[in-house]
Symmetry: C2
């Protein structure tokens, strides 16, 4: 192992990623969610956008002023600089930012098809210890987005009742790719710390999806057993779990995996003896996870009238045993009004003003580190708002020169930094 | 910054996480998927299970011998040791493994409710630089699993056609939590490298879901606009995308986000003039993402007969323009038989024998690092199979002593290591 003589004072009590600077050139979800996660852990994340913003600048939902709440939600806590990538001076400034000297810098995160003077070869010639992490669509070089990866990876055809594919609404592959990119950056930064070497790390969205399908056993099930999982409604796979509707039109999810959870469930519903008798009559055993999974239709048929006869409030009262695993379905509005975990009572959240966007409950990192207090939740910048400051802080370019580049259309951000 | 004099030779060309040892005490999906990701990047990951395996040891799908393909798929590339946690000597051995000396070790990953002698206080008293990363269910201390987190986080009620909640089949929160744990471990290891300090890092599954809902703009949409997103079938949100059925009963997903993608799509389908005329008649504009989203029902109505009159093969021939974003839906079987990206042609995959489980296409890391070759894909251990070896390598306990602990029921793994 290496011999290290760290300067403890600079990092003791600091945010976990203090001292890391990441230049992000991105659009949509995956790379921005990576940059957000790193910023929330204390990294200095600078997002570069073309003047006027990238292709995701006006993604829905917008607020009444036409500013994107989606953009603000995924990019808060970062600094934003607008540079014209079609101007040669703009390209050079992008290179300068990505390869800026100093041990903090030299990390470039992108999910755009950059090459030439923004490709790894050109950039690493300027800064050999550069870490570049690049996400693309598909390992065969084709474009792909979450929706076109999702349809290929098996899940939509087994979601819902199986009569037709059901797309997920959560962009799960984008989010998972984002955290995979964060892991990649920290792994490469560790390698750089130990060896001085930078490198190019590549990932495709499709590989994230295919790896997940394999890692969850679906590939092995086909290859070893010749079995392709089929759709099964809202049942939990391999144990007992299902969704029910209440008399007041609410829905609840009920899960029992362990024997203890199962016993708590039948006790709460109060039908243990009838259910057992019915199971015996039909040749089912309810004593094992697998047995309950085999008997899932029977169990749900027996449970359903109980829920249909009760309001959500009744169910909540009856389900006060802490060993029960269950919960009501909530839409996004109900999530905010009914769930105390989605409020400032949860230290992950803080309701702050985002000038230009509005005031809303905003996330810090979901991770809590015992050696540091949570990094303060900070607002989203209007796109380009940090241009002057970033030019000054990172490239030591003064305001006069920046103003001249703004006048020439090489840099944006003419509105004052907020 | 710290002054470092790394021993370059030990790490040059090595796997990115060579020199990291992680002790995993886990069950189900989230923490095991974290351990898998780290093992695939070269970390030495040792999973501890109670004798006979943890609660997830027999999760479906099983193979013909009753061994879990799910378990093998999520835990390959790790070493497996069986220890009886109810025996005081077993608990002490678990402490010994977690706090084993040496700069490689001292990282403990768990998603189980450990405390007392396996809690952070007791363990860090033995090894002050210990990093412990612990996932639990909910920030209010309640138990929660992917299904009961999912119902709370808004997405199932906007998945599908909205008449009832639709659970995702992909355990998205577990997988996302797993990669968040991996990021946490590397962030904490960076902090330890810089300061010598260990720490406890905590995460809850529910916070992962709530943070995601917020980061994607759904919370801001409620708080700023008073709007809670509703279900919208298989439409892509905010631009144009939808699913169609072909004459041979296959389904395809078609997406157009940029203007270029949109033009390529209407060109391929060959209905540009009719569609434009219909849009004008109905007051729609198709020139913007937002306009196409507003007109999505019209667009799909016009497109639908075109797909219904063609086989998947016809569509594939017509859609040979590389700027088109589309793909067929595939089940897990079709994914393996039709998609060359899910085969050994993809360097992420290798088809290997997993003794006791079978032969199947197995993942390496989806990340490719230019400074190292991909870490070889390695098989899953039968649970406990590495007991003797781990006792020897990590704790310098010889085979005689291990055999005696096995005879006493403190250790498992009596079958030979594979």
């Amino acid at each position: 192992m290496s011999t290290e003589t760290p300067d403890r004072s600079a990092f003791a009590g600091a945010a976990p990623l203090q001292g890391l600077r990441v230049i992000e050139f991105s659009a949509f979800v995956a790379a921005p969610s990576c940059g957000l996660a790193l910023a929330q852990l204390g990294a200095d994340v600078i997002r570069i956008d073309p003047i006027g913003g990238n292709i995701d600048a006006k993604r829905l939902p917008l607020n009444a002023h036409g500013n994107s709440l989606y953009w603000a939600s995924l990019n808060h806590g970062k600094r934003s600089i607008e540079i014209n990538p079609r101007d040669p001076r703009g390209r050079t400034l992008m290179q300068d930012l990505i390869t800026a000297p100093g041990p903090a810098g030299g990390i470039f995160l992108t999910n755009l098809g950059v090459d030439g003077d923004l490709g790894y070869e050109a950039l690493s010639a300027r800064r050999p210890d550069l870490i570049m992490v690049q996400l693309s669509g598909s390992p065969d070089g084709a474009n792909a987005v979450d929706y076109t990866v999702n349809c290929a990876a098996g899940f939509p055809l087994v979601t819902g009742n199986g009569q037709q594919p059901v797309n997920h609404v959560l962009p799960a592959w984008d989010m998972l790719a984002g955290m995979t990119l964060a892991t990649a950056i920290l792994a490469a930064e560790r390698h750089r710390r130990l060896t001085g070497e930078g490198q190019l790390v590549k990932l495709t969205l499709a590989d994230v999806a295919f790896a997940t399908a394999a890692n969850l056993g679906y590939v092995a099930d086909v290859e070893v057993n010749g079995n392709s999982r089929s759709a099964d409604g809202n049942f939990l796979y391999g144990a007992y779990g299902d969704a029910f509707v209440t008399s007041d039109g609410r829905h609840v999810m009920v899960v029992a995996i362990s024997d203890r959870q199962w016993k708590a469930l039948v006790r709460a519903i109060g039908i243990e003896s009838q259910l057992t008798a019915a199971a015996v009559a039909l040749g089912h055993t309810l004593d094992t996870e697998d047995g309950r999974w085999q008997a899932r239709e029977l169990i749900s048929a027996v449970f359903r009238p109980w829920f249909a006869a009760r309001t959500l409030e009744d169910v909540t009262k009856a389900f006060n045993d802490r060993s029960l695993l269950w919960g009501p379905y909530r839409d996004f509005q109900q999530m905010l009004t009914e769930d105390h975990r989605v409020s400032e009572a949860n230290p992950m959240f803080k309701r702050i003003d985002h000038p230009g966007y509005g005031r809303f409950l905003t996330t810090g990192s979901p991770l809590s580190f015992s050696r540091s207090t949570r990094t303060p939740v900070s607002p989203a910048s209007i796109i380009g708002a940090d241009t002057v400051q970033v030019m000054h802080d990172v490239l030591q370019v003064d305001e006069t020169r920046t103003a001249s580049l703004q006048a020439d259309g090489v840099l944006g951000g003419k509105q004052p930094s907020t």
